[in-house]
Amino acid sequence: MAKPTRQITIDPVTRIEGHAKITIHFNDQGAVEDARIHITEFRGFEKFCEGRLVWEMPGITSRICGICPVSHLLTSAKAGDDILAVEIPKTAENLRRVLNLAQWVQSHALSFFHLSAPDLLLGFDAAPEKRNIFGLAEAHPEFARKGIRLRKFGQEVIEDLGGRKIHPVYAVPGGVRAPLSVETRDKILAGLPEAYDITSMGLEYIKAFIETNHGKLDVFGNFPSLFMGHVTAEGALEYYDGFLRVVDSGGNIVADMLDPKKYNDYISEKVEDWSYLKFPYYEPLGYPQGNYRVGPLARLNVCSHTGSPKSDKELLVFKQMAGTRNVVLNSFYYHYARMLEVLFALERMEELLTDPDTVNQEDYRARAFSNKPHGVGACEAPRGTLFHNYTVGRDGVIKHVDMVIATGQNNLSMNRAIRQIAMHYISDPETEITEGILNRIEAGIRCFDPCLSCSTHAIGRMPMQVQYIGPDGTPLRTKRR
């Protein structure tokens, strides 16, 4: 007799940044039919920011997320620069970049060492009560301590510049609030050697892990898609400014030198009837062919080179290890890409800190009133491309806000990844669904390092499905928007 239709819920998804549940859906034969990630949070930033001043927006929107507040701070300040119609001083740009790179280090270290390393070092099947940073510190004290110190380095640079580690009010429309002294610069430079060491350790670790587990990682979201990220005019890796490039799964450039301010022209959002989150796609290819991934893996796939020697060398190794000269399709490689990006962040930070324009310059903030009714800011955030789009009145009072968030753009891919993992590990209806299998499905989500605090900032246009499930687990009816 066919088993009744049933559903398993993982609630809450843990060791990710935000609130979510996963459901795994089985068909009448007892095989996995689908797996979905449901976002349960709702915050309403776009709505309650109406009526605030454009100058306040960096401080308010950084509260969208405690993990990447710097990304919202900078993107908001850039939208503000646009509204003020000013060109910010070179010093301000350099300092904003350093702040951003410091966030790269702390955010990627958090994802790699604090959240995902427990799976890698202790094993996906380790006892759940040990599978965390504390368990890691017991079993591998040196590794855990170093991971903690790498994150600390990034957080301290943010504090050195912005006065605090979380929610620094440093960037403002027009520039930054304070210059950087030679002493502080030297203090940061002194911390770099250790940060490089720890990053190499992380890189070597993830390479060895991939080598050892060769073949076992092919189901962690391994599928063709487009990739999108910022590049410089020369096609090098870029986080703060530049142009957008889209490549396909064969490594062909589909679109290049796109103006990020015009994101509305080439990114559209599809409404699926079973998720709170919208599904952005690359408009010219339609839906779902226009599915693209963003974040560390995507950025390494779209850039032709990093533009800095150490990370450029590692980029070649990265592609070799994935067995391709083109783009890497396996989402498990997000972890590897993350450590490689930390290396790049440290290199760029060092270059900027030794640039005479960065230090002790008087000119770090341009001042102006609101000169344009409309402004867009775009940046790479650790998790992918971030857009803030404001409309203001003459007095700089916000009338309308639209934001496209990094994690949201990976929505379709995250769902594809967990479906792939669930179908692989529960291919046979008789399979006993162990805790380890459920953890692998969550681990599929962790590859993307989703920041759900960010994704759920929005108020508008979120599609919805409410599924009514009977006491025995049978869905009774589904109500759609």
């Binding site: 405690g66 510190a137 599924q467």
Partner: protein, 177 residues
């Protein structure tokens, strides 16, 4: 004496308070030596355990999931600490309180808006009409303000508790934002 059983939880917030907790850095390892962390979003424990000595609760009560978790925490915890401004006074999470909830839901979801999360079978929580600081829902034993509270202040509070004292914050330490 048995180790103190410590929990951290997040309700409606930005996770910045938890990031500040992680800013304890190497002190996290010392902490783990002196206390047992039994529940936290950085761990894989899915259900709030019984018999918790101290809980740090980030975020305000913004939906029914938050409310339910907070009530479970209260019922199973000796000392409950409002951790950060959102928990203490609602802060940024409560900025939507000027907007009518049902009107907002209708604008976004159309007619189904008013039904969201209302069925006991729905996987979605229902939004609170007004976002509430946690002491409007349960009794709170101590308040630790800041957006987020500085890691040194968190450490001060935790070490006081480990010594068996209820932490008293000086005027200097009592800062919002």
């Amino acid at each position: 004496m048995d180790k103190i059983r410590l929990a951290t939880a997040w309700l409606g917030g930005c996770s910045g308070c938890h990031m500040s907790f992680l800013d304890l850095d190497e002190r996290l390892i010392d902490l783990h030596g002196r206390a047992e962390v039994v529940f936290s979003p950085v761990m894989d424990v899915k259900r709030y355990p019984e018999n918790v000595d101290v809980a740090l609760v980030e975020g305000a009560v913004a939906n029914s999931d938050n409310r339910e978790l907070l009530e479970t925490i209260r019922a199973n915890t000796r000392i409950l600490i409002a951790f950060g401004d959102c928990a203490v006074n609602g802060n940024v999470t409560a900025m939507r309180n000027g907007i009518d909830r049902d009107e907002m839901l209708k604008q976004i979801y159309g007619d189904i808006g008013k039904e969201l999360g209302r069925s006991i079978y729905s996987p979605l929580p229902v939004l609170e009409e007004t976002v509430l600081p946690i002491n409007k829902v349960v009794t709170v034993d101590a308040f630790l303000p800041g957006c987020p509270p500085h890691a040194d202040l968190i450490w001060h509070v935790i070490t006081e508790l480990l010594e068996g004292r209820i932490p008293i914050l000086t005027e200097e330490q009592l800062k919002y934002g």
